[in-house]
Structure formats: C-alpha cells, structure tokens
C-alpha cells in the first residue's frame, strides 16, 4: 500500500481528484471558448434594430468578438498590468474577475458601412482553474508559491472575498419527448385531460423552451408553449399544416403509420384503431377554421401573435408566423421538416399514452433527467442580460429622439454612440456578480428554469470533505423542497451508479440533495482530448454509420412506419429514420463497439437509449443523445474482448435501464434464467460517493450508519487548509495534530486525503466503566488530552474597513491609529491602532482603534463574545492610500477538548465527552500497560450493528503491530476471486495472534483504581476518531440575572445577548403536575419580572399613582450607618390623596396589561384586602 510521504508537492497525483471537479470547470471553459460566441450569434440573428419614428431609418445593432480577459489588478498603469491572483482576492475581499469586452456594430439598413466600437462589459467573475484563471495549468509547486493549496482544484468563484459556487440543479432531459400525467393539466382549460407529452427543447446557446402537447377529451391535441409569461395553446393541426407544405392525407397517413391491424394487441404495438379517428378530428378542427393551405395557417398564426410580439409590429403576418415557429416551437430543431416529424412522433406517443399501450415517463427518475451546470447557467443568464442591455439601449435612443427632436441627428454615429455609452455596459458583468453573491436570477424574460433563487452557495472549507462534496452535489430544485409528497425524494433504482444512495443528508433536503458517485461524470462540450466537439460532424458521422447498417433515413414524402415493425431513431430529439426492429439489437451492439473504439467518429459518451418493444411498457424507439450535461459513468463492456481498459464504455442513466450490467456481489441479479450480461461494473465501490467511499468496510455496517457517517465526516473539525496563513475566512476550524488513519480504503489514497487528515487513531476500549459512558457518552483519558489528542483551534477573521463602517460623515476621515488612548487602558493596541500578533484579548477588551483626523476622536473596537482569543495574524491593505484604512485581524481561539464536546468514529457512532478521566484510574492492560485514550459503552453496538467499527479496531491493532496500513475497501471479498477463502475476520485475527494477542482483539484489563482484574475480556484497539465541530463552548447557555426586555421586564432570549432559555408552557405544566408551587413561583415570578406596584385601594387603580418628590429632610446622619432612605411619597392622581396607597407584588407584565387595557379605554380595578376572604380583581 503506497502512502504519500511528506515531500515535494509535485509528487501528488491529482488526476482522480481533478476528475471530481471537472463538470464545473469544463462548463465554464465552454463559456469562454465557445459560449460567448454562441450567445452573440444567437442575439445577432434577432438583430436589435432601432427605427427612427419619423424618417423610418433603421439602425441595426449587433455584437461580435467577445473577449474575456484574465484577472488583472486595477489601478497602476494600464499598460503593464499585473495578474490578480485568487489569494489576493480572498484577503482583500475582492472579486476574482476579468474584463469582458466586445465589439458593438452599428449599421444603417441598406447602408454598407458598419461602425465597430469596442465596449467593455465590466469585470466578469472568473471561475478558478478555468481557462481564463491565472492558476490554470499551474503545477502544485507553483500553486504553493501562489499561496494556494497544492491540490487546489478550483471550480468556484471568489466574490467579495467569499468563495461561492453554483450548485448544479436537476432538469428534465433535453430534447426528449416525455409522456407526462399531471392533474394540473386538466385544470388548464375546459376539455383538457391530465395527459400530455412534454419536451424541453434546448438551443445551442443553452437557452431552453418547454413545449407541451396536451390531449383533449374530444380526441384532439393542443401544443402549449410559453411566450412572454403566458402560455398559448395552438391546435396541433394548424401547426402541422403551417410547418411544411403538406396535405391532409399525408398528415393522416403519417399519424396512423404506427397502427397496423396485423399487430393489433401484439408485443410492441403502440397504435390502436382510435388513432385514425383522432387524426380525423385534428384535421377537421383545422378545416372548421377554414384553413386549407399552409399560407392560410401561417396567416392565422401571424394574425394571432402579432399583438404579442412587439418587435414585429410592422411586419407581415407571414413573417410573424415564421418567427413564432422558429423561436417558440421545438426550438432545438432548425428545419421545419424535422419539427413536423417530431410533432407527428409526439402525437403518436401521446395517443399511445392515452390508449395505455405505453406508460408515462417518470419525471422523478434519473432516466429522464440531466443537470444544469454552472457554466451553462451563466451562459443563459448572460444572454438574457445582454439582450436586456440592447433593449435598454434601444429605448434610450428612442427617448433621445423624442426628447431632443431635431437636435439629435440619428444618422450621426458619434451622437448615437454617445447615447449608447450612457447605457452602462458594465452592468452586465455586475448582474452576473450579483447573481453569484445572492444566487438569485433577476431576469425580465423567462429562462425556463425551475427556480429563480438559491443557485449559489458558499463553498465552506470546514474540512476538505465538506468542500469537496459541494462540487459533487446535485440538487433536485428548491421547488420540491416545499412539496409535501415524498415521491421526489425516493431513491429510485435508475439512479444506481450515478447518485450515491448513502450520501444524502437526513432531514429537510433528504433525497433532494444528492451526491454524484465517485465514477459519475457529466458530459461536456469537450471530448476526451480537450477539444470542443463538433456536433454537426458528429451528427453526420452517426447518420452515415446508421444508414450503412440498415437505417432508412427519414426524407420528405416518406412515411415513417411505427413499432413493432420498425423502431424510430431519434438523435438529440430529431427524427433521423427508422430501423427494422429485428435489426436493432445488432445495430446497438455495433454502435457500442464503435463508441468504445477510440478511432471511430462516434463520441465515447454517446448515449444509446434503446427502448425495446414491450407490452405496454415505455414507448419504444432508439434514442441517441450526444448532448452535454448528461450523467455518464464508466462500465466495462464484456461483449468486447479486451485485456486492458479498452472496453470501458461510458453509459448514461437513460440507456442503463435497458442494459444488462453485472456487478460483483450482485449474483445473477435476482433472476432465475442465466444472467445475459453484456456489461460489468468496474468496481462495486463505484456506486458510492467520495465521502461514502472513505468509510472503512462500509459493507459490514447497517446502512443508516453509513449515511450518518457521511454527514459527520462533513462536520468534522479537521485539517481544513494548508494555507490558513493566507486566508481570511470568517470562521475556520483546525485540528492541531491530525493523524492518517491506520485503516483506510483505496479511495483514501486515490484522492490524497492524507493532505487533509481529519482525525486521530485513538485507543478505544469498549467497556462499561464508571457509568460515565452511558447513553453514548464517552470517557476521554485526561493525560491523552493533555498530550495533545484532539487539540484544535478556531480561526476567526474580523475585516475592518474604516471606509465602509460607522457614520457616513466620518468615513473619509477615519484612520487606524492609537490616537489619544491611555496606554494602560488598552495595552494590546500598538501605536498604529492595530493589535500585536500573539497578544491575548479578553472579552470586551479593546483590540483595535481608529482615529478621526477631523474631530480628534478615538474609537476602539472591543472584542465580542465570551472567550479569550489570541491575535493570530494582522494584514493591512496598503494599496495606494497614505493611511491604513482596511485591515484583517485574525483571532485564534484555542479549543481543546472539554466535557461536552462531540466526537465520532467513522461509523456513525457519535458521542459526547462526559469526563476527562485521570490516566491512573483508567483500566490498564497487564501485558502492555496501555491505558485507553477513550472508553465507549458496549451498548453502542447491538442495536446499531456497526460491525465495521469492530473490524476497524481489530485491523488497526493488527496493522499497528505489523507496522502496516490496512486496506479496508468495501466489497473486496466479492471482487477478489475466491482464491483467498479465509474470511476477513480470520485474516485480521491471525495478524493479532501472530504477535501474541488475542485472536478476537480482546485483552485482559485491570481496574486502574483497585489493581484487580476486570473479570471479562475487553475489546480494545485503535479506532480512527473524528472531532466534530459541535462544541459546548459555542453552545452553553447560562444565566442568573442579566438583561431584561425593555417593555415586559422579563429576561430576554438569545445566547449571544446573554439571555435565558424559555421556561415555557409545557415546562410550567410539568411543575404544576408535580405540585412544585414554590419552584413555579420562583421561576415565573421571582426569577422573572418581579415587581412591586403601588396601588390605590380607594380607586383600585395602579396606573394613576404618582411619586411626589420627597422634600430634602435635614436628617442628621449617624456615623457609620447608611443614610436612611427617604420614604417615597406616593399619591393617587385620581383620588388626590396618598391615604389608601398600598404596595402589591405582581409580575410586571400585569402592570403592562393594565396599561394596554387603559389604552383601549378599559379600566382595570384592583380590590385589595388582607387574607383570602375577598375576591381579588374585577374589571
């Protein structure tokens, strides 16, 4: 077993790790390489034009040549700009961004001259380690010199010093018509059913439009699409006729081609007799509107949509209709003929859904899903923002024309440009930046996305596993979080191998926030060599190959027959032809073979979704996908002979469902017939996420325990960063002396987790000792702790920017300086107003001071909180200004283990330290004299069944005796061929026995207190323990007296403000039930808002009493005695006398009630009496 030795950072093998972050980085790289160009091209097709209202001269504004620059430092001379590095952004709270510039072209219609003007679109945030990042391609050694982690992987942005990333969201699979049943469909309009075929069409620039084909109760269908925030439904017949020149007969034949009497109820038949009748209804509908020709249909569409589309106000109906068909109907296809064919296919699928010859597709299944990647989200948001900018420029120009009238020469480029410059182009990048900070999209137009907020999150570096998990997480969408049903959260078999079944949080986001497995990748625009894929070429070569092996290409005037005779072939949502169903399996096998071979033009991540003929199963067909942002994972294609890795095939969740994949340990897949496997899993651990892969022997644990461990691994206080010196995180947890686990999985080495270890190999004894280990409590050895076990720190950075804090008027004149402070009052502040490094700061002690040069006033910053801290580091922003105005002060809180801190093993066994037990009182081993570091209770095992923890203990004991790390990769026994018949326990037991230890890991221990033998064998051995970030010091809440609420005079709440814990109604009930009246009185009255009120017994009011200032009596003071308190003279304001004044003890809230009632014109009167012989109050 190779271990990474401390040494050159260049020794690190980071390829595996890089693979994990790839989806994020590649998607952003695509934006840089091609995405911007694509956006500009798609905008230019729309061509924003401004027409002068009076002269009707037309100005066309287009964009071209986008350039995204590398991040550079601002200021300094613009000629020799220095590169800006991420660490500088983190410390100075800047945004890591590069300039985005583009050329704006102005052209008058009919004029050949084009004026090009370069515009800067502001500072565009740049993803770390993307192609425009200054760290791109840097070696680990270089990274270290740039104050980064040696294994920095990027994938996130730095916005105002915060590391933020975009969390991928699950979206419906693109360009695949999905049969859907949703009750909300039937509520759309009268006559609609709950069934529809939905297709999410995605253009080349990643913008998408969802189109729904609804089924009507009368047998017809409507195509629904969204336009400017409203859904429009068009009779499908009109669309069919408008798309191409066709006849009713052709449409009829096309629609009914899927029905053949011969196959009536046979296997794979999708059509029924009813299809013909429905086709008639559809055609009749059109005829009833007296639309007969294509032109009439286009006229009809144009007429209806002209009012909606403002930019086509002056165009002909024909142009409008074509624009509608192009921009809103099945937008992933360019050709109307393709659109027609797809519409026919969708209708056939819809009818088959109605006739129950096929089942609806499950939208919650990974089979029908893809993922929205960070780069793509930015691409489509950027496009929206650019369009907004152009739109705004247009209105500004029109406004200018209207305002200035004759004075504004529309035909003068310089004047036009002057107006356009006023339209802040940098707002485009600003919008992207604010999207990253807030995670909110603020677009005016619909982006066809499931949610508008919650896209970005902070990439916390609590520990490395947590950080890494951020980039492997995919969320189902915030929409589903509020849903009451749990169906979306269910773990479906379709997600096998793509999403980890273990690594999902419990509680709110359970099942919605999933993590990709270790082997799962996401397809991108790049092929394996890093070149951008040419989809046109790919499509051509696939078509060539398909036609060569028996596909009939779809051509105009050729009717597509349907299943079961032939299967329709769809390539990225485009119908390309059909293959006889007898040939399909051969074709599929052939394509797969070509896919795996590197020479073929077929991309290796092509998804060959072959849905076979069935009896009322999924709608059959051969669906090919080459698109980006699909999930893929490698499996071994065993039908292709190979001795190395040449038969590794990338498969997607759509095709996986219909494939036969063998898994070691999976037996024959639970079937009686022999397993006709064509594929094989590479390793069973491929179905687990990275974090789940780190649990040793997780196959021996009860599964919920592995889930808990995934949670706790991410809450561990660990060695979080190697560059703490150069960071300014708000809060950072750090374990002082971490260790490498003795028992580890192969993933641990593969991903270099040793760079960021997260625990300690503690000697754990499993016994019930002293009683302090009851109920998941654990006893720590005091001496072990004193020797440094689980010691740690919290680093907290306070950023003080005098230019942004305090009252506005003073901001410009404040600087860091000690000023006129007394030296003795704040010894920790140096003359520059900043603290000494290494200085201890106690709570409420000043640590930093600012001086106002104008008012000569000094202001001190006082330490908040209840813990003393040390000044770890002070950094100042000395950029260009004369005086220091901005500083980062990092505090260090020592956090050594105390009673109440939380620890856990790697098997979901968490516990709280209940005692730091003296070493001499701990049980000791007679042979070795060892005392355990930690004692846990045996009751932690029977119900939780974490056998792997016991195995870990034995293995670590054997490993440490032999001086070896022990491999604990799960499912090893099923992967290795049966040569080693010995079970795992035998293997481990022999290791112990060899060194003279008990086979089962038990030892005889002696009581540390009495020196007598504990009359049972005790299981003892090293277990890797993690210290969790939940610490009592952050949580304890205690109060005797303190601040009270201004209004009610009751104790306030909130730990931060020194408040108490509410003694609520249920607590009160329990005291009542116990009859603990005195305690109740103490808690709710004496300890709360005890108040002595003066009440006038004559009028019964307690609000009308007033104090009379006691006259200064000349009382001689008697030496030594305190001066006699002058009795407060109280009178009733209403009765004008002080005769009946009495004092009554009551909760202050009662007085408050009286005052509130008085405000409502209700008088509360108290009747006072001694003893219990009278009723008390009346109103």
């Amino acid at each position: 077993m190779a271990t990474s030795k401390p040494g050159s950072p260049d020794d690190l093998n980071l390829d595996e790790l890089r693979e994990l972050f790839n989806p994020h980085i590649e998607s952003f790289d695509h934006l840089i390489d091609a995405g911007l160009e694509t956006i500009f091209r798609s905008i230019n097709l729309k061509a924003f034009s401004v027409t002068h209202p009076s002269t009707s001269k037309k100005l066309i504004i287009t964009l071209e040549k986008p350039v995204l620059h590398q991040p550079q430092k601002s200021g300094i001379s613009s000629t020799s700009r220095q590169a800006l590095y991420p660490f500088e952004c983190r410390q100075a709270k800047l945004t890591y961004s590069g300039r985005l510039s583009a050329t704006v072209c102005l052209q008058y219609e009919g004029d050949l001259a084009i004026v090009r003007e370069s515009f800067s679109f502001g500072q565009f945030p740049i993803m770390l380690k993307s192609k425009r990042c200054n760290l791109k391609g840097a070696s680990p050694r270089k990274l270290v010199s740039l104050k980064e982690e040696a294994s920095e992987m990027g994938g996130y942005f730095i916005v105002n010093g915060f590391e933020r990333y975009i969390r991928p969201i699950i979206l419906p699979k693109r360009n695949y018509p999905m049969s859907t049943v949703r009750s909300s469909f039937s509520e759309k309009r009268e006559g609609y059913t709950d069934k529809a075929v939905v297709i999410r069409c995605v253009r080349a620039d990643q913008t998408s439009l969802t189109v729904k084909l609804y089924y009507l109760r009368n047998g017809s269908a409507r195509l629904g699409f969204w336009m400017q925030g409203r859904e429009y439904m068009l009779p499908v017949g009109i669309l069919l006729k408008a798309l191409i020149d066709t006849t009713d007969r052709e449409i009829y034949v096309n629609l009914t081609s899927c029905y053949n009497e011969k196959y009536e109820k046979g296997k794979g038949a999708v059509g029924t007799q009813l299809v013909g009748e429905r086709a008639k209804i559809i055609l009749d509908e059109v005829r009833n509107l007296s639309l007969f020709t294509r032109l009439q249909c286009l006229q009809y569409i144009g007429e209806h949509f002209q009012p909606v589309l403002r930019e086509f106000r002056n165009e002909s109906h024909f142009t409008v209709a074509n624009a509608v068909l192009k921009d809103f109907i099945l937008v992933h296809l360019d050709d109307n003929f393709d659109k027609f064919n797809l519409l026919i296919f969708m209708l056939q699928k819809l009818f088959s859904l109605i006739d129950q010859t096929s089942v609806p597709d499950n939208p919650d299944s990974l089979q029908n899903q893809e993922v929205l990647l960070p780069g793509h989200l930015i691409t489509l948001y950027l496009k929206a923002k650019l369009e907004e900018w152009l739109e705004k420029g247009k209105t500004m120009l029109l406004d200018e024309i209207e305002k200035k009238g004759e004075k504004f020469n529309f035909e003068d480029f310089i004047q036009v440009k002057r107006v356009l410059v006023k339209n802040h182009a940098s707002a485009v990048s600003k919008a992207i930046e604010s999207m990253l900070t807030s995670g909110r999209l603020s677009a005016h137009i619909s982006l066809d996305l499931p949610q508008i907020s919650g896209y970005t999150l902070q990439a916390e570096r609590l520990n490395y596993l947590r950080f890494l998990s951020h980039f492997r997480a995919v969320h189902r969408g915030a929409l589903f979080a509020g849903l009451r049903t749990t169906t979306v959260r269910k773990l479906l078999p379709e997600s096998w191998g793509f999403l980890c079944p273990v690594h999902t949080p419990d509680g709110g986001p359970c099942g919605l926030l999933n993590h990709m497995t270790r082997t799962c990748r996401i397809t991108s625009f790049y092929d394996s060599k890093g070149n951008i894929k040419d989809y046109f070429k790919i499509k051509l070569s696939i078509l060539n190959i398909l036609s060569d092996i028996g596909m009939t290409q779809s051509l105009p005037k050729i009717f597509l027959p349907g299943p079961p005779e032939v299967l329709t072939v769809l390539l990225d949502g485009c119908i390309v032809g059909f293959i006889p169903s007898t040939e399909v399996e051969k074709v599929v096998a052939h394509i797969r073979k070509l896919k795996v071979s590197s020479a073929a033009a077929i991309p290796n991540d092509l998804e060959v979704g072959y849905v076979p003929l069935s009896m009322g199963g999924a709608y059959p067909g051969l669906y090919l996908f080459t698109s980006p942002s699909r999930f893929v994972r490698p499996v071994r294609n065993i039908s292709i002979p190979s001795n190395g890795d040449e038969n590794i095939e990338l498969i997607g969740p759509f095709e996986q469902v219909y494939m036969e994949i063998r898994c070691p340990d999976g037996g024959d897949g639970g079937r009686k017939s022999p397993f006709p496997a064509t594929h094989e899993e590479i390793h069973p651990t491929g179905m687990l996420s990275v974090v789940a892969n780190l649990t040793p022997w997780s196959d021996h644990n009860q599964s919920p325990r592995n889930m808990y461990q995934c949670q706790m691994a991410k809450q561990t206080m660990a060695f979080s960063s190697q560059t703490i010196q150069h960071r300014a995180d708000q809060k950072l947890y750090h374990l002082q002396t971490p260790q490498s686990p003795l028992v580890r999985t192969s993933a641990y080495t593969e991903y270099n987790i040793d760079e960021y270890p997260s625990g300690t190999n503690a000697i754990v004894a499993v016994l019930s000792y002293t009683g302090y280990d009851m109920e998941d409590a654990m006893i720590l050895n005091k001496s072990s702790v004193e020797r440094g076990m689980f010691h740690g720190q919290i680093y907290q950075t306070e950023t003080i920017d005098l230019a942004e804090q305090g009252p506005m008027a003073e901001r410009s004149s404040r600087i860091f300086r000690k000023g006129n402070l007394d030296k003795s009052s704040c010894p920790s502040i140096d003359s520059d107003g900043l603290p000494h490094v290494g200085q201890m700061i106690r709570p409420d002690e000043p640590y930093c001071s600012s001086y106002n040069e104008v008012t000569n006033k000094t202001f001190v910053f006082k330490k908040k909180g209840t813990e003393p801290a040390y000044i770890d580091y002070v950094s100042v922003d000395a950029n260009k200004k004369k005086h220091l105005r901005k500083a980062n002060i990092r505090f260090r809180y020592p956090r050594n283990p105390v009673i109440g801190d939380k620890f856990s093993s790697r098997h979901g066994q968490k516990g709280v330290c209940s005692q730091l037990w003296p070493d001499i009182d701990m049980p000791f081993s007679g042979n070795t004299g060892m005392r355990p570091d930690l004692i846990i209770n045996p009751h932690a095992f029977p119900s939780r069944m974490t056998i792997a923890m016991l195995l870990e203990s034995v293995a670590a004991k054997g490993g440490s005796l032999h001086g070896k790390f022990k491999d604990a990769t799960p499912f090893r026994s099923s992967v290795e061929s049966g040569s080693k018949s010995a079970s795992l326990v035998d293997e481990l037991g022999d290791m112990l026995k060899e060194k003279g230890f008990n086979y089962h890991g038990c030892e005889v221990l002696y009581s540390g207190v009495y020196g007598t033998e504990l009359t049972c064998e005790i299981f003892i051995g090293p277990v890797y323990y993690q210290r969790l970030r939940h610490m009592v010091s952050d949580k304890y809440q205690v109060r005797s007296t303190g601040t009270v609420d201004q209004v009610t005079r009751q104790p306030i709440k909130g730990r931060k403000r020194g408040g108490g814990i509410r003694f609520g109604e249920m607590e009160r009930d329990s005291l009542l039930a116990h009859g603990a009246a005195y305690l109740l009185h103490d808690r709710l009255h004496t300890g709360s808002d005890y108040h002595i009120a003066d009440v006038c017994s004559i009028c019964g009011s307690m609000l009308s009493t007033t104090f009379i200032q006691a006259q200064k009596l000349t009382v001689r003071e008697i030496g030594g005695l305190p001066p006699r308190r002058a009795p407060n003279k109280v009178t009733c304001h209403a009765c004008q006398t002080s005769k009946g004044m009495e004092t009554v003890a009551m909760p202050y809230i009662f007085r408050y009630l009286a005052a509130e009632l008085a405000a409502m014109n209700i008088k509360m009167t108290l009747k006072l009496s001694h003893g219990a012989n009278a009723s008390d109050t009346s109103v």
Binding site: Y870, P918, D919, F997
Partner: protein
C-alpha cells in the same frame, strides 16, 4: 485475633534494570499495595517540565500555544525534582515561581538563515541549570548525532527567515496535574500465574492434539518435549490470562486439562521511564512518596492514652 499481626514484609526482586526500563518482582503483598505503587509512579513522582513560556519572536508555522505545549512535553532530567520546591509553596519567591529553588530557566533562540529546513530540537534549549536539561536519548554515543535519537526532540521546523526566540520556565510538578510531569511512560504489573497441567489428562491426548492445544495460546506458554512428548510450562509469565488454552481444552472435551490461577500476592512489574528519572530512581521515589503519604495519616503520639479507644488500630497507625 489478639496479638496476631498481619504485617507482612514485601520483597522486591529486580530482574532487569536499564536506565529507562526495569522489571521486578514484588512478593508478599496485596494488589492494593502493588496498584498504589503503580499509581504513584505514574502520577505522583515529581519531575521538572516547562510550565511557562514567554515568546519573544515566533514567525514559525506553528502558533504560540502549540509550541508551548510541545515544549512542555519535552522530558527534562529531573533528579533534582524530589529536592525542589513546588513553586506554589516556595517561600523564596512568594509563589511567583521564578526563583532558583523552584524553577529552572530555559532560553531558545533560533533563526533559519539557509535555504534548508532547520529543525529546532530540544538540543537548542539552553538551561540555566546544568542538572536540568532535556533528556538525551542518544545514550552518550557520539556517533548517533546523525540518527533521529541524537538530534533531540524536534520542536518545530523553520524555513529561511523564520525565527523562534523564547524564554521558558520549568517547574516541579506531578503527573496528576498534567501528563507532562509524569515520569513514567508505562507502569504495569501482572499477577504471577500458577499453572498446573493435569498430567493424566494430558497423556490421553495424541501428539497432534497436544500440539494443537499448545498452539491455541497466542503467547508461548507451553512447549512439548520433542523426545518425551511431554507438555511442559516454558514461560508461565507469558500467559496473559486470556483463557485461550482453557477454552481450547474444553472444546477438545478435556475440561480440567490445565488449571491456571493468579497468585494474589506476587506481582511482576514492568516500568518504563520517560527518561526524566531513571527507572530505578522512579521506584525509589515512588516508595518514598508512598511512605510520606502514610506518614501523613499516622496518628500522633499523644493518642497513646487513647489506646483503649483505638486499640490495635492505634498501635498500627503509629507504626507499631
């Protein structure tokens, strides 16, 4: 009961003695005494350890507390410790803990000037008292300077330009207060086992079975004579009370094949010292401290007349 004395005279027999390791037998006494000795050796024999660190310059990668903690754990030669005062009850310095009677001052000044990583070790600590210095593990062997032991205990590693400058005060203390004052790495004892093999039953076993039975013990306690094929105890003390052989005998259908009992009055001690105090001295100091503790509970002489009241206990407590 009258007149009978239960006082026993415990005997110690030293088997093995090195500077930092000792193995001895303790006989004719109880577990309570043996355990008291163990506990005292671990946690109450005083040593000297760095207790207060004043850091002047620290530009190393480790923070101040970390370095202070590491310094504290360095074992210092503590022969003087028994004679030293605890700084809390030192009259000379009013509990200030900085006088020569109760403290030793250390200085450390290191700066790395080269491109090579500089190891700051316990050898860089300069003591104000030559009797209290960091423990040298090289055993006085000059050739071992290059070896890991010879270089001392690494405190921190420095890169070019980094510096560590500090003053440290070492004080006397006991392991009960903090583990750094514990002079013992390990102190353990085991009850001497008494092993009786039932020869008759043993003879009923075949050679194979005998070998199998012997092998069932993880440690080598029994052996078989190749000539006579007789099973004998070769190393009774290797037995770790794991009951493996007894279980094996039962599994073979021969319960009572061997009888193993722990002698309740004989103990075999193993002492490993951290180097602060020699193992032998550690034992002597421990006995001394046990005695002091017992002295503290001894009844005063003027309770002689109260003998009626305390009877035998009184005499016993006065050392009778």
């Amino acid at each position: 009961m009258e007149g009978a004395s239960y006082a026993r005279m415990p005997r110690v027999k030293i088997r093995e003695l090195k500077d930092d390791y000792m193995k001895f037998e303790l006989r004719d006494t109880d577990a309570s005494v043996a355990n008291a000795l163990r506990r005292v050796m671990i946690s109450e024999v005083p040593t000297i350890a760095i207790d207060l660190v004043e850091i002047e310059v620290n530009s190393s990668v480790l923070n101040d507390e970390f370095i202070a903690h590491r310094l504290g754990l360095i074992p210092l030669t503590s022969e003087r410790a028994m004679a030293m005062r605890f700084s809390r009850d030192c009259d000379a310095c009013d509990g200030d803990g900085q006088c020569e009677y109760c403290s030793v001052e250390f200085h450390l000044r290191v700066k790395c000037m080269t491109d090579q990583t500089l190891d700051v070790t316990s050898k860089d600590l300069y003591s104000s008292d030559h009797t209290v210095v960091p423990v040298d593990f090289s055993g006085g062997d000059p050739s071992s300077v290059e070896s890991a032991d010879g270089r001392g205990i690494i405190i921190v590693k420095l890169r070019r330009g980094q510096e560590l400058r500090l003053r440290a005060i070492a004080r006397k203390g006991i392991g009960k207060d903090h583990a750094k004052w514990s002079p013992a790495a390990t102190v353990t004892f085991m009850y001497e086992p008494e092993i009786h093999i039932n020869e008759d039953l043993m003879e009923s076993l075949s050679l194979e079975e005998k070998k199998e039975w012997i092998d069932s013990s993880p440690t080598r306690v029994f052996d078989i004579d190749p000539v006579t094929q007789q099973v004998s105890v070769v190393d009774a003390e290797a037995y770790s009370y794991d009951d493996e052989v007894i279980k094996k005998a039962e599994a073979m259908g021969k319960p009572g094949l061997v009888e193993i009992t722990a002698k309740q009055d004989s103990f075999i001690f193993t002492v490993e010292s951290t180097g602060a105090v020699k193992a032998s001295q550690l034992l002597l100091n421990a006995i001394e401290i046990v005695k002091q503790k017992l002295d503290a509970v001894r009844l005063s002489e003027d309770t002689v007349e109260a003998d009626d009241q305390f009877g035998e206990l009184g005499a016993h407590m006065r050392g009778g």
